[in-house]
């Protein structure tokens, strides 16, 4: 266990504190044009015509682009091809874009955009996913024949029979809300058409490869014609996957059509209107218990609001399915999770990815269960939670890594002082301060990376230069989390060289093989594993070439302290070694790929919901101590603690930083964040009305890292981005219940002021 206050280091910090770091909107090119999207005022409508003539005559306007101008296929999607780069048949959500105005200046484009008009006739609309899932409901995409995007199941044991033998059965309903990512940098992309026929894209995104795929699809050109370069990103949190790809593809489209560089920078209001959100879930949860304190059965039905487009709804809801009972052993499970289209804003990837909703429900259900049984809420968790060798609800045996759930639970209880503090829980009676007071916890396990969602593999390249410097890159994207620094530190450790030798080359989609998206807390585990494999390959090459010089068998060469050393005491400095490689006509260059093996590491049966959902897991526990002012209903977070098993903390200050930030986002999710969406229209379109936690609304957090080296990762390290977010809302929910004596079963939890 480590608690670190060491001086922090990351490779991009100096650029970011001096203002030198260039984000997408900071790029300018000679002759650059500005692009502005055009929205309608409809939520669900048929499009008859789009009128652009008047706008096209405005000063500075170079071109107005509609769907008919798209040279390739205007329809794309990572899973289901249902997203139109520009709407031409229907408006399916408030944020649909019908045209792009391209002008010499942004001001001119904004003026002209007001004059683009559409002839629309209203269509019915549907906003409740449960209603939308029914037969006969208005269809958002008639060609699909249903609004149901996907239906995931778990069929383990015999839940129906098991409920008959239970002593206590709980039946509860929960509702969660849309959550906006609220990255401080709105989406932006600049596309520069090169004289070599390649369009280079400088954009704010976390999945450059999907930006390339989407752009190539829309342009009808090969992937090799599009080069998406890595630049600093002002926050992603899952939100700069598909949405950012749409922005990049639109910029690329305008650049190809005008043959000039084009910049598309979103205003905050456009970003919030159009970008996908976290899925709202309606959850029906039935739990059966026996008097001995065991959970015997769960029946779970979820309607997830996918909004107008599929995006990654099937993957988000897959995680909810695999983790539908939280970190508890339940022998009989019947689970149905539906992703459903509505005319609401679409939903997709958001840090947590289907787990924050489930954890919010499960961690309240276990406390209700303990209460119904008359048991201590911690002892109930301890009795039912997964342990070394336990079997998950999808029949995966947890035996390939250390199951540390009780370790993180015990640490969090101690750090927050749970047993002492809970004596002061007020359960609805004001304390001496005239406040309600409560302490609560929540814990989880989380499958690492993509799991059985899809192919999961990542590339790394190490290119040692003849002057001793080293260039590395990976298929993982720097979203602000510090991935590049983690890769540099890993390469330095495994090559036995000083970190100062290593420069991280900002990858482009033309230099590094497509390694998928940087989401799912997969950056560290996939990227550092690939770096370790590439470093191992490079060392094998150098040992083979230089063993004669060192007078020892290649396998005996040791790489440490900037030297290659033989057991006989002979050694070469790193500088000497790479120079000798030059004269041997050998490039010290290695590429390798870390692969999650299909069917061996991960597997899944859609009908039964059985399989190894994820190749390894992480464990976390968070606690919240709150006070509620009865007059205002305001929830004050007094203290919060978090303990997470990260396998190995590669760069501890930034592991802690991830946890701090995740807790803040989780607190916002639990207590304040709300789009104010009604009939498909979002009323809180900027950060004034859409509240996220401010510095004076949060305490210092008590963060503890647990490091159980994970043999499934080549570096031992796992991930932390999402586990950090997914526990604060349920911990606060439990604290609120302990403070007020009431359960708040919908998000955000707003406590009504007392009169």
């Amino acid at each position: 266990m480590t608690e670190t206050k060491a001086k922090a280091w990351r490779n991009d910090a100096v650029a970011k504190v001096t203002g030198r770091a260039k984000y997408a909107d900071d790029y300018k090119f000679y002759g650059m044009l500005h692009v502005v999207p055009v929205y309608t005022d409809a939520v669900s409508a048929e499009i008859h015509a789009i009128h652009t003539d008047e706008a096209a005559r405005m000063p500075g306007v170079v071109r107005i682009v509609t769907a008919k101008d798209v040279p390739g296929n205007p329809v794309y999607g990572q899973i289901q091809k249902d997203y139109r780069i520009l709407a031409d048949d229907r408006i399916r959500m408030e944020g649909d874009v019908i045209a792009l105005v391209v002008a010499e200046s942004r001001a001119q484009a904004l003026e002209a955009a007001k004059l683009v008009k559409a002839d629309l006739s209203p269509l019915p609309a549907i906003f409740d996913p449960e209603e939308a899932a029914k037969d006969g409901a208005f269809l958002i995409h008639p060609e699909k024949g249903t609004n149901i995007i996907n239906h995931h199941k778990v069929r383990t044991g015999d839940a129906e029979e098991a409920f008959k033998h239970c002593d206590i059965i709980l039946n509860e309903v929960f509702q969660t809300q849309h959550q906006e990512h609220a990255y401080i940098e709105p989406e932006s992309s600049v596309a520069d058409p090169g004289d070599d026929g390649v369009i280079r894209i400088y954009g704010s995104m976390q999945h450059p490869f999907v930006a390339r795929r989407f752009s190539a699809c829309v342009l009808g050109e090969p992937l090799s014609n599009i080069d998406v370069l890595t630049i600093p990103v002002g926050g992603g949190f899952g939100g700069k996957d598909d949405t950012a790809a749409i922005v990049a593809a639109r910029a690329a489209l305008c650049a190809r059509l005008t043959d000039r560089p084009c910049k598309l920078t979103y205003a905050r209001e456009w970003s919030m209107k159009e970008s996908y959100k976290r899925h709202p879930y309606k959850v029906y949860y039935k739990m059966g218990l026996t008097k001995d304190g065991k959970i015997q059965a769960c029946d779970v039905t979820v309607y997830a609001d996918g909004g107008a487009y599929c995006s990654v709804t099937p993957w988000v809801t897959f995680r909810s399915t695999a983790q539908c009972c939280g970190p508890y052993v339940v022998p009989n499970v019947h689970c149905d999770i539906y992703g459903v289209h509505t005319n609401n804003v679409f939903t997709g990837a958001f840090r947590g990815f289907g787990s924050p909703q489930i954890n919010y429900v499960v961690e309240q259900m276990v406390e209700k269960a303990a209460e119904a049984l008359g048991m201590d809420e911690i002892e109930f968790r301890r009795l039912n939670c997964v342990k070394q060798g336990s079997t998950t609800v999808t029949l995966q045996k947890l035996d390939n890594h250390k199951v540390s759930l009780e370790q993180v639970l015990d640490t969090t209880l101690e750090k927050i002082g749970y047993y002492e503090k809970r004596k002061h829980n007020t359960y609805g009676k004001l304390n001496d301060n005239g406040e309600y007071y409560g302490v609560g916890i929540a814990m989880s396990y989380r499958g690492m990376s993509l799991g059985a969602e899809g192919p999961d593999f990542c590339a790394a390249i190490i290119n040692a230069q003849f002057d001793g410097s080293i260039i590395i890159e990976t298929g993982i994207h720097e979203n602000g989390q510090g991935s590049e620094s983690a890769m540099i530190l890993t390469a330095a450790e495994y090559l036995g060289v000083k970190r100062e030798r290593i420069r991280y080359h900002r990858s482009s989609t033309s230099t590094i093989p497509d390694s998928g998206t940087t989401v799912a807390s997969r950056g560290t585990i996939m990227g550092t594993s690939a770096v370790v494999l590439a470093a191992t390959k490079l060392k094998e090459q150098m040992s083979r070439c230089l063993a004669p010089e060192l007078d020892c068998p290649p396998e005996d060469v040791v790489f440490a302290n900037d030297c290659l050393t033989a057991p006989n005491g002979k050694s070469l400095t790193w500088d000497q070694a790479v120079l000798k490689m030059f004269f041997l006509r050998e490039h010290p260059f290695a590429q390798d790929t870390f692969r999650v093996r299909d069917g061996i590491d991960c597997s899944w049966d859609e009908e039964t919901g059985h399989g190894k959902a994820y190749f390894t897991w992480v464990y976390g526990c968070q606690a919240a101590e709150i006070a509620i002012n009865p007059k205002t209903g305001k929830i004050r977070l007094i203290n919060a603690a978090a303990t997470h098993d990260v396998g190995k903390a590669v760069n501890p200050p930034f592991v802690i930083g991830q946890i701090n930030g995740g807790m803040a986002q989780g607190f916002g999710y639990g207590t304040m964040e709300d789009l104010g969406i009604k009939d498909g229209r979002i009323s809180n379109l900027n950060l004034g009305k859409y509240k996220i936690p401010k510095a004076n609304e949060l305490p210092d957090f008590i963060v503890t890292l647990v490091e159980n080296y994970d043999p499934m990762s080549k570096s031992g390290a796992k991930g932390i981005g999402e586990p950090a977010l997914e526990l604060m809302a349920p911990a606060v929910a439990n604290a609120i219940a302990h403070a007020t004596g009431k359960r708040y079963q919908s998000l955000p939890m707003i406590i009504p002021p007392e009169k």
Binding site: K7, T18, G234, G661, G662, K694, A695, N696
Partner: protein, 156 residues
């Protein structure tokens, strides 16, 4: 109009009185360190100092800066080309993640430390309460501002 930015005087035509300061800094002076996050004066990514006071450049017009001294993140410098001590503190405390809020955050922190070299953590949290950060949960940012106070004593 005469506007001084980071020590350099700029003569600006009076016809531009009602132009927005943020846009002018970014587009005319290429000082892109000052960021646009919300454009309505909420997020604080565009905070600059005008005569030492933290101001949102997206809510200020050029006439508001006429005859005044504007300091942006590019104007914050340490001795002999080193980082300014507050910038160095942000690096050392691990206060930087995506970095987009950081220029505004540093300018708000700098304005506070100019007035009060040793603020309490609560005072720091209050001073940056109009600078939104979505990555860090603010803890390490507060650490950074707190730890830089001694350098302000030395420069006083």
């Amino acid at each position: 109009m005469e506007i001084t930015v980071n020590g350099t005087k700029h003569i600006v035509d009076d016809s531009r009185q009602d132009d927005e300061l943020l846009n002018w800094l970014r587009e005319d002076l290429n000082l892109t360190g000052t960021k646009n996050g919300c454009h309505v004066g909420i997020c604080g990514a565009c905070v600059v100092l005008i005569d030492g006071k933290p101001m949102r450049a997206c809510r200020r017009l050029l006439k508001h800066a006429d005859g005044k001294e504007v300091t942006t993140i590019e104007g914050l410098k340490g001795k002999d080309g080193a980082l300014h001590p507050l910038q160095q503190a942000f690096v050392d405390c691990g206060a930087v993640q995506c970095g987009y809020c950081i220029p505004g955050m540093i300018m708000s922190g700098h304005a506070l430390l100019l007035q009060n070299h040793h603020p309490s953590r609560d005072e720091i949290r209050k001073a940056i309460s109009n600078n939104l950060c979505r990555c860090t949960g603010y803890v390490q940012i507060v650490d950074a501002i707190e730890s830089a106070g001694n350098a302000y004593d030395e420069n006083a």
